[in-house]
Amino acid sequence: MSSGYKPDILWSPHHADRYVICDTELSLYRIGPSGSSETKAGALQLSEETAATLLAINSDTPFMKCVAWYPKHEPECLLAVGHTNGRVVLTSLGQSHNSKSKDLAGKEFVPKHARQCNTLAWNPVDSNWLAAGLDKHRADFSVLIWDISSKFSPEAVPAEKVRLSGDADSGLLVTKPLYELGQNDACLSLCWLPRDHQKLLLAGMHRNLAIFDLRNTSQKTFVNTKAIQGVTVDPHFQDRVASYFEGQVAIWDLRKFEKPVFTLNEQPKPLTKVAWCPTRMGLLATLTRDSNIIRLYDMQHTPMPFGDEVEPTIMERGVQPCSESIISSFAWHPSAQNRMVVVSPSRVMNDFTLFERISLAWSSTTSLMWACGRHLYECAEDSGQAAEAEKDIATKMRERAQSRYGHDTVQVWRNHVLAGGDDPQLRSLWYTLHFMKQYTENVEQKQQSNKQSLIYSGIKNIVKSSSGTTETRRCWSGSDRQTDVPRFHSEERSLALQLCGWISQGPDTDVEPFLKSLEQEGEWERAAAVALFNLDIRRAIQILNKGASSEKGDLNLNVVAMALSGYTDEKNSLWREMCSSLRLQLKKPYLCIMFAFLTSEPGAYDGVLYESRVAVRDRVAFACMFLNDAQLPRYIDKLTNEMKEAGNLEGILLTGLTKDGVDLMESYVDRTGDVQTASFCMLKGSPGEVLKDPRVQCWIENYRNLLDAWRFWHKRAEFDIHRSKLDPSSKPLAQVFVSCNFCGKSISYSCSAMPHQGRGFSQYGVSGSPTKSKVTSCPGCRKPLPRCALCLMNMGTPVSSCPGTGKADEKADLTRDKKLAQFNNWFTWCHNCRHGGHAGHMLSWFRDHSECPVSACTCKCMQLDTTGNLVPSDSV
């Protein structure tokens, strides 16, 4: 017989560490940590941390069908057991000695007609009431509500009538129920409604879910459904009920009881248990017969439907608490979050905690939040130890935006300092852009516009167009020995050298100023190498000496200088041999390439050209000097592709701001995510094609969104201004016009500037004319403009009647930070109530009020503005 009974598990309502397993007998267990001294040898291991100890066994009730635990604290281990013949017996477990428990234990409640008891439920408030749901009988009720405090039935059954039941000791026998409900109907499941303890929800045959109110049992609300096998109320949401049938779970809202809110049905096998999680809102666990998987339905984010169409979203997942065996039943832990104990048909128990789904969100300011169960974790970038780990690009961009990175349009190279000055690639990029700009400006002055287009297209294109190269062989300066090192000259090559920063503008090709600046920055090795490449070995030695003697100087530089001074061009000398082998041991790349240069054959400078630690601009400059017309483009192409692939910003020197440059920038952005540099850099490229590239537009838009997300609204506005100056096509058209209430025309100057007006603007102009006050009237019809709701003055801003200024003026105005109309004087109005006034007045009003300043108006203007209460996080 026992094969038919699968163990069920029931958690104590008051002791979080006790539960009962019931199959043919009731076994009380205590759950505790497995390692503790409390647990004895007989403890059953439930999980890695927990074990259960058997406290008591009650085997008085072999024909039990259902069990319910008394909901009150006292007596603590009182259980109601429903039998297959419909009797309900109160029994206790464990060593409960108090008198109340003794009075109650053993009490028996007998229905008039025997049939199976399907379900039991204690009333949560009036704990004397016990509802029992029975199978149907042709002449009897299927729901009996017993009062456990009632004495044995006064109209005791005559002894001769007890022939069949065979129970003589009717001392504890109760046969008269308090209430009887549901005639010729079986009750398969029932529960008390927590919202109103007099109400009972029944699931019965004839496919009904019915709600009875005990105060008026003839009235019931019912709904016809198949899902009647079991009902259970969501402990967190008392109007939500789950009922099930076969493999189908229906979720009901008792306030809208006509049909299920939704149905979950995809399980092929019949369900055996459905339970709401007591510790987690809207989490329903279901178990099907002969399954080892508990399915979980998370209705956490279910909005209650207002219309019939709303289909709530449900997250479904399955968990397998014990891999091998099937699950007979499970029970949620009453207080520990997401924890349950499952029991297998062979009574193997398993303590198990569900892992909570994690939802995480990035903030716009590089911190990360995630929620797991009831815990909320935040992970923010450690700002204190920035040196140790490289900061996230978002943090960097934020800091750079605050330091106005990219906005220095005069001394373009300074932008790398604004960016922090520690990134060699950015440094190279901004110097490149600086040299390009410088050159363009000079060219502009000289009206040589034919080169202008070339300059932004990079050295790659410059070199390609090279023609008329001349070759010279120069002496080593300071020595009269003829070198056999050919050096190449052309107009394009010297342009390239300018872009590399080696020589400055003009016909003068002296590198001395460059060497001086390098010396100033303490870049001794680099300066020496540049001097050497300009065939000035003496200068190189001099620089090295200077470097060695400077503060924090490296004395090794003297040694290098000495080695250098021993230079000989004899092919088979010891010096050459030793230098070419020992140079590789030099740690400093520039020193290394110096000896590489001296020991190489003319035209074969791979040791210099492919030394990746040397700045690209120096290698390119070197190549422009020493590679012939055939080698140079090949080398430049190769280097360009290398740079493009690596996304190395130094390559911008080669590609310029062309499509190639966008490709390079693309791989840079892919690598770093630095849309800020990409946006600023590409804005510098005046050719329209580059700015029209969708990638560039995408970077710019993303950067703007980023600034908005950081609430850097002023920075964003600044960027937009900067952008519209460099890219006039990005200037947005006016979208809002203020029109006059009388003539309906726009009061802005652009409208009044229409030629048919035929009137000079000096009439309304601001330029000190006596009609200055007229800004408060419509330029079209001269009727007064509306009044400010606060100061009651007519509104109007000088800019509204200011004639358009030339482009140059505009630029000048903005740089001088002189505004035609203070923001305080701007028109503002509520889109809802249409009241408004001067922006400054409105701002100060809404700082303290939420309602419209117009006295009769109750519009909550400020609350309608979702961003109105946000404060920009950048300073004004």
Partner: protein, 331 residues
Amino acid sequence: MDLHILDHRLRVTCISKSGLQHYTHPLIKLIFLRNRTRCKFFSLTETPENYTVVLDEEGFKELHPSEHLQVEGSTWLPLNVVSNGNASSSSQAVGVTKIAKSVIAPLAEQHVSVFMLSTYQTDFILVREKDLSVVVETLVEEFNIFREEGGESVPVHSQDSCNGLQRNGREVPHATVHPVLIPENHFCVMSLDPDTLPAIATTLIDVLFYSNSPKEGASVDQDMECIKFFSFSLIDGYVSLVMDTDAQRQFPADLLFTSSSGELWRMVRIGGQPLGFDECGIVAQISQPLADSDISAYYISTFSFDHALVPEEDITSVMEMLQTQRKEMSS
């Protein structure tokens, strides 16, 4: 009140006493091996004459045709009356009595032949499928009628096409008064947890199939007064048993369910010769006067005769009542 037309299509059959041995296998399968058949409605009633088996079409497939098996030609549909809770039933009378006025009498008037089957749980009224439209027409005034199809209850409304009651052919004068027999034995109506069926299997097989073998203690003269009657039904997972106290003693007491008062019933057998299936008004004849006197009753029709069970304390008044009825009829 609701009237449910249940989702079963039933056949009424009869196995002769001598032919029982040919059918023990399917019967045992239908009774004990619920998981092996798709039969949802099974009822077996043993009377001294034969075994009446009522079962649905799935179960009917198990019974192979033979000379020992008689089958009534038509398909029957079970009806079930449900009080939808509003009637909190102050009346003590239960079973057939309760529905006598509302269902049985109107159907008798419309000449619809009914086959009654009472169980521990409820009362089924079986009607022929071809009479269904008449049944619906007749009862639609009184009841909310639902037809259960695939687990859903679908409301049924009387079809307009069926205008004018299609009478059941011939006008049968329902003056025929059938003789009644009131045996001495006491019966009990019981139920059982279907899960414990295996526990009583041997006893049940013994009672059902070996009851003809002489039992010790059953004296010959007692047999004259007592009637062999045993009914087992397994419908929608519910077991119902009707047996006399002799048979009941053979079962373990703690497994069978009955009322706590341990009420016992006496039987009124209707019909002197096999009643057939076409005559109508037989149930009404008995149930009407019982309803008038508010006496509860079970009613089990079999292939040959009808059997009404009334509480033992009411049997004298029922006898008197039937006698007066008989006098009225004959006068």
